[in-house]
């Protein structure tokens, strides 16, 4: 049995709002799966269902091969949750927080002490052993939060935008920790608004829109679905000419947020692009290989980027 989590045709309503509309996802053991999508597409609802914080209305969820509904309290010992909001006890020390949650999971005295020591050391929290959580910086609090979610050695780690509320330095730190967890074989399901985060950490990505998965695969697989290998971002006062020239050249045009994105069939240099657009007044142009951001914009398709050239001109 290699599947850690399997969700089939899951539906969830909040009143008349159909938040999950036939959501399906499979997470294999050892996978790091990123769940990406716009605000309100149902990402957090999926995580809450997996963590048994919400009941589903229809569909089936299996955790480690067992139906979630039949696992009862046992399911909670299989999953560890870390959210962007640091849900810890501010007047307690880091070790005290770890000990408290370890006891809730029923870790024995010696095993508990060993696990707490191990996490304090792995997350470099020993230097703050006598500092209350309220006095730690946001980044260190989030580090501890992640350590707490690992206290019971969960089979599935659920990360809900884990780096959304921390600064860049702390984010890089947390990425390194998550990478080391990934490398040690921990199965992770994460949501994020940082596409670079998903691109760096995830072995597979599921793109969500309106409560269902619209595209799924490894990052290279998703990139292969973009009609281009590189993207040129162009700023010009003469968009009509850019569109016409691009069509003539067989390039795909996307437009939004005051910027043209030209999806190029091969990796062209900046000089080649400038040469191709000769005769058109261009104020700025840049080129880079396609990224997950381009795949997201292309496949989630719910953004102003998706205005077709015919609507534009």
């Amino acid at each position: 049995m290699t599947t850690a989590l399997q969700m089939d045709d899951v539906h969830k309503w909040f009143g008349s709002h159909h938040v999950l509309d036939g959501f399906s996802l499979r997470v294999e053991k050892g996978d790091v799966v990123g769940l990406l999508g716009p605000n309100g597409c149902g990402k957090s609802t999926v995580l809450k269902i997996v963590c048994k914080l919400l009941d589903l209305d229809a569909g089936q969820v299996r955790l480690m091969g067992e139906p979630l509904s039949e696992l009862g309290y046992h399911a909670r010992a299989l999953v560890g949750l870390c959210t962007q909001h640091c849900a810890l006890y501010p007047d307690l020390l880091p070790g005290e927080n770890l000990h408290f949650f370890a006891r809730l999971y029923g870790l024995y005295d010696r095993e508990r002490q060993q696990r707490v020591d191990e996490l304090m050391s792995s997350f470099a929290l020993e230097q703050f052993a006598t500092t209350r959580v309220s006095q730690l910086s946001g980044g260190w609090q989030q580090r501890l939060h992640l350590a707490v979610s690992l206290i019971h050695r969960p089979k599935l780690l659920v990360l809900d935008e884990p780096t959304a509320a921390v600064d860049l330095e702390a984010r890089m730190d947390l990425w390194r920790f998550i990478e080391s967890l990934r490398d040690s074989g921990t199965t992770i399901l994460l949501t994020s608004h940082h596409l670079a985060e998903a691109e760096r950490l995830c072995s597979r990505v599921a793109l969500m829109r309106n409560g269902k998965v619209v595209a799924e695969g490894s990052v290279p697989e998703l990139l292969a679905r973009i009609p281009g290998q590189a993207v040129a971002k162009v700023e010009s006062e003469d968009n009509e000419a850019i569109v016409q020239r691009s069509i003539d050249l067989g390039w795909t045009v996307r437009h939004g947020a005051g910027q043209m994105r030209l999806l190029l069939p091969r990796d062209l240099s900046l000089l080649e692009i400038i040469d191709a657009l000769k005769g058109i007044k261009v104020s700025a142009v840049s080129v880079q290989p396609v990224t997950l951001e381009d795949a997201y914009l292309e496949l989630v398709g719910d953004s102003p980027w998706m205005v077709e050239p015919s609507n534009l001109v």
């Binding site: 919400l54 006890y89 007047d91 209350r132």
Partner: protein, 259 residues
């Protein structure tokens, strides 16, 4: 680990955490001690000064314990615990652990019971120093204390789960509910000097019966038989308040599951 062992470990973990948090909040702890002690001293000195009212000194300790100390620490403390869990986001985190709801409930009761015992020792030490006497059965006093703490914690869960969304609301809600109950509970004035209508309303105030039961044991040495009405009322109220508290706590957990 068996499920009953896990339940015990979880209960003690919750109780220990709450006591540790209380201990760390030094300022809160000072007010926790100063408020009822000051009340005790003020009431005690007034009674002790007036020879004709000297007997009232013994009774004052019971009223202050039940009204000023236990109400604000056990009921107020429980409401504050729930509001804080909500505000800090620790409630959903607890729900992701195998923590049994009853273990959480019992953990809060144990923590509040220990705090209540400390207040009893503190207040009665002051009361004894200024001349009051504890006349009755310690077992009966302990039973009334237990019923009072369970009732207050049950009501605390009810109010905390249903109404207190933020910590700031706790103080306002407690003052709005607590002070009228204190007045009607005979903490400040004896029931006899109240208008008849107020006396009738006071009869349904559980604080009055806690007060009278504690006063009966502590100040007048009354036994089970003489206090059977108060004890029955308290037992019924304790049952009702625990039922309300548990139901509200379930509602709180269920509410989280449907949002």
């Amino acid at each position: 680990m068996t499920s009953s062992h896990l339940f015990l470990v979880q209960t003690l973990a919750v109780a220990q955490r709450l006591l540790l948090e209380q201990w760390r909040q030094k300022r809160g702890l000072i007010f926790w001690a100063v408020f009822p002690s000051t009340m005790m001293l003020l009431f005690g000195l007034v009674y002790a000064h007036n020879v004709s009212m000297r007997a009232g000194l013994d009774a004052a300790a019971a009223g202050i314990l039940v009204g000023a100390a236990l109400f604000f620490s056990c009921l107020g403390g429980t409401v504050a615990v729930i509001a804080a869990e909500r505000e800090r986001g620790t409630l959903p985190r607890l729900l992701t652990t195998p923590l049994h709801p009853a273990a959480y409930f019992l953990g809060v009761v144990i923590a509040q019971l220990l705090l209540a015992l400390m207040q009893v020792v503190m207040l009665y030490s002051i009361a004894l120093l200024i001349g009051a006497k504890y006349q009755g059965s310690l077992v009966l006093g302990g039973l009334i204390l237990l019923l009072s703490v369970f009732s207050y914690v049950g009501m605390g869960f009810f109010l905390g789960a249903r109404f207190a969304r933020r910590s700031e609301e706790v103080v306002v809600a407690l003052s709005a509910i607590g002070v009228p109950l204190l007045v009607l509970g005979g903490t400040f004035f004896p029931l006899e000097i109240m208008p008849e209508g107020m006396q009738a309303v006071a009869q349904i105030n559980p604080m009055l019966h806690m007060n009278q039961a504690f006063k009966g044991v502590a100040a007048y040495g009354m036994g089970f038989h003489e206090l059977r009405f108060e004890l029955t009322f308290l037992l019924a109220f304790c049952g009702l308040s625990l039922a309300l508290g548990i139901q509200s706590y379930r509602h709180l957990l269920g509410g989280n599951k449907s949002q």
